[in-house]
Amino acid sequence: MPNIVVLVKRVPDTNAKITVSGGSLDLSAVKFVISPFDEYAIEAALRHKEANGGTVTALTLGSDACDKVLKDAKALGVDNLVRLWNQGWENLDSNGVQSALASAIGDLGSDVVYCGKSAADSNAGSTGPGVAERLGWTSVSNASAVSFEEAGVEAMIPTSSGQARVGLNFPCVVSMDKGEMEPRRPNVRGIMMAKRAVVEVISAEAPTPTVNVVRYSPPAEKPPGKTYEGAGNVPTVVQALRNEAGVI
């Protein structure tokens, strides 16, 4: 039965207003959540287990502040919670993150890894393929649906001319897009399971970062919108759409 791992990342809530002060991010009043695409990955992992048995392990890399998102995953039904962390990892770059995750996944003995196609904070989309590359495993990205076979998975992925159904043998990494599989919501029984759950903390080697953040700056402010009321303004709006916005 498959040993399934799902990667989850703790990110600021996508509705949060993020401010920059003194060249660094101010996240003090921000709520943190599981990165939205990771919810699809959890859903895929849970359905995989429901179809073929096995175990689902949620894995994250981060400090103990990340235990909450692991517990969120537990409340949805994953079996095991593992957090990967070492002293001095506060500023790991993608290379470091992927190397550490790959080594942990190897240690966990997993057959298949699900992750979100990109994280809501960095939007880089490199973790799934990067981990697969380091492990030397098969991988696909942006899967909108998966079905489960005895020794692999079939995934629906976008192509230039539509969609393709591709087959992957274990071991493999599938990065999930928003698709047909609506992520489940927790219930109180799941939350009580999460309350009792223990997060296993493990460590790994990671290469020293070679990419460093020099400073953060906020994106340029959008100009304020314009409001017009009443049918009499239609010609003005049309003019504005044509001449100022250039959209028609």
Binding site: D67, K68, K71, R185, P186, N187, R189, M192, A194
Partner: protein, 410 residues
């Protein structure tokens, strides 16, 4: 728990060692429960509340969907199909429901707090097997103490229960009033005076007995549904008992001991109503804050006018004060039931008094901040304003809370 001496001086603060054990951080489980309920309420209650409020429709369909979260059984042990959570979680759930829909919040609060919890505390094994398993699934509970002539003065209730000659059942007669979930419920914890009890007619509450009554019992009819100012999506009804046949197995607790069961249930559930009030205040505040950022007068958002800023600051402060008191009362209740600490009556009454008054005051300020827009149904504060009032009336009026508080001080 705070201990006051006779001169009103605090001799023990609520937390053992300030700086050591005092911890105001929400636990992960509390955050998860809050997020789950908030997301559900916004998705499932927001779209229908206006219509239900306008037409006095009980949230029966919403209740069926709500059951998926498993929260209907939080005051029921796991062996009867429930899923117990701590008392702070219960307060958080009710707060989050009321933030969106105060009617649904009281529907829930009465079910878990007054009905299920009372059966859990006083029921026999058979009663728990029979009724808690249903209430933890999809059946709705209610609590019926009040009558036309017996509200604050509950011991004045006049419904009578007479034991049948063969001793197998009681016949209940009379008219109960103000029953939340009156029409929606399937199972009622109902109070009547047993005429054959030695104290009947001797002591004022003599003979008061709690019964578990099913809607389908012979002689039981749901009467008039009240047309209300607020919480209009919660059905408040009269119940008519005409020789209503209740088997003796359905006596909850002991014959003649119903009055203390009733009072005990109320000061447990009072914290739930305080949480409802907190949620109403929070909902009204959020609406006012949003409006104050969007509405412009004299070329600036009204939230930048100093007077409006001052209202908002006071509102947020009063709400936070209520929240502290509600959670603390819930914590005190938990300490009472789990660790044998003294009863939480004082904390519960203080929380209800403060949160109820805060809900009313905040909702009124929220209407004021909206100006004319607060007076019409397009904006939710109009509803919050109407809904807030009930929190000063039921589960013990504010006057009763003051009596309880004062009694605990002298």
């Amino acid at each position: 728990m705070t201990k006051w001496n006779k001169r009103g001086i605090i001799i023990q603060a609520p937390f053992a060692a300030i700086g050591e054990e005092m911890n105001f951080a929400e636990t992960d489980e509390h955050s998860m429960i809050r997020e789950m309920v908030r997301e559900w309420a916004e998705a499932e209650l927001t779209p229908t509340i206006e219509h239900r409020d306008a037409n006095q429709i009980a949230p029966i369909e919403e209740w069926a969907a709500f059951a998926e979260l498993g929260l209907q059984g939080i005051t029921i042990a796991e062996e009867y199909g429930g899923m117990p959570v701590d008392d702070i979680s219960e307060a958080i759930i009710i707060e989050e429901l009321a933030r969106v829909d105060a009617s649904f919040a009281v529907f829930y609060c009465v079910h878990v707090g007054l009905c299920c919890k009372t059966i859990s505390l006083h029921g026999t094994e058979e009663q728990k097997q029979k009724y808690l398993t249903q209430l933890g699934a999809d059946k709705v509970g209610a609590y019926s103490l009040s009558e036309a002539g017996a509200g604050t003065d509950a011991a004045a209730l006049s419904c009578k229960a007479t034991l049948s000659e063969d001793g197998t059942h009681y016949k209940l007669n009379g008219l109960k009033m103000w029953v939340t979930n009156g029409a929606s419920a399937d199972i009622y914890v109902l109070f009547a005076k047993v005429t054959g009890h030695p104290d009947y007619g001797v002591k004022k509450h003599g003979g008061v007995t709690a019964f578990i009554v099913e809607k389908t019992f012979e002689g039981f009819t749901v009467g008039k549904k009240e047309d209300k100012l607020g919480i209009r999506s919660s059905d408040t009804c009269t119940l008519e008992l005409n020789d209503c046949i209740v088997p003796v197995e359905n006596v909850l607790g002991k014959v003649g001991k119903g009055f203390s069961i009733a009072m005990n249930a109320l000061d447990n559930s009072r914290i739930g109503i305080a949480a409802q009030a907190l949620g109403i205040a929070q909902g009204a505040f959020e609406a006012a804050l949003k409006f104050s950022r969007e509405r412009e007068t004299f070329g600036t958002p009204i939230g930048r006018h100093q007077m409006i800023t001052s209202y908002l600051a006071d509102m947020a402060t009063e709400i936070e004060c209520s929240r502290m008191m509600v959670y603390k009362a819930a914590w005190a209740k938990e300490q009472h039931y789990e660790n044998g600490a003294p009863r939480h009556s004082l904390e519960a009454s203080m929380a209800k008094l403060k949160a109820g008054d805060t809900a009313m005051w905040v909702a009124e300020r929220a209407v004021q901040i909206h100006g004319g827009y607060g007076f019409v149904k397009e904006f939710p504060v109009e509803r919050f304003f109407r809904d807030a009032k009930i929190t000063q009336i039921y589960e013990g009026t504010q006057e009763v809370q003051k009596l309880v508080i004062a009694r605990n001080l002298t």
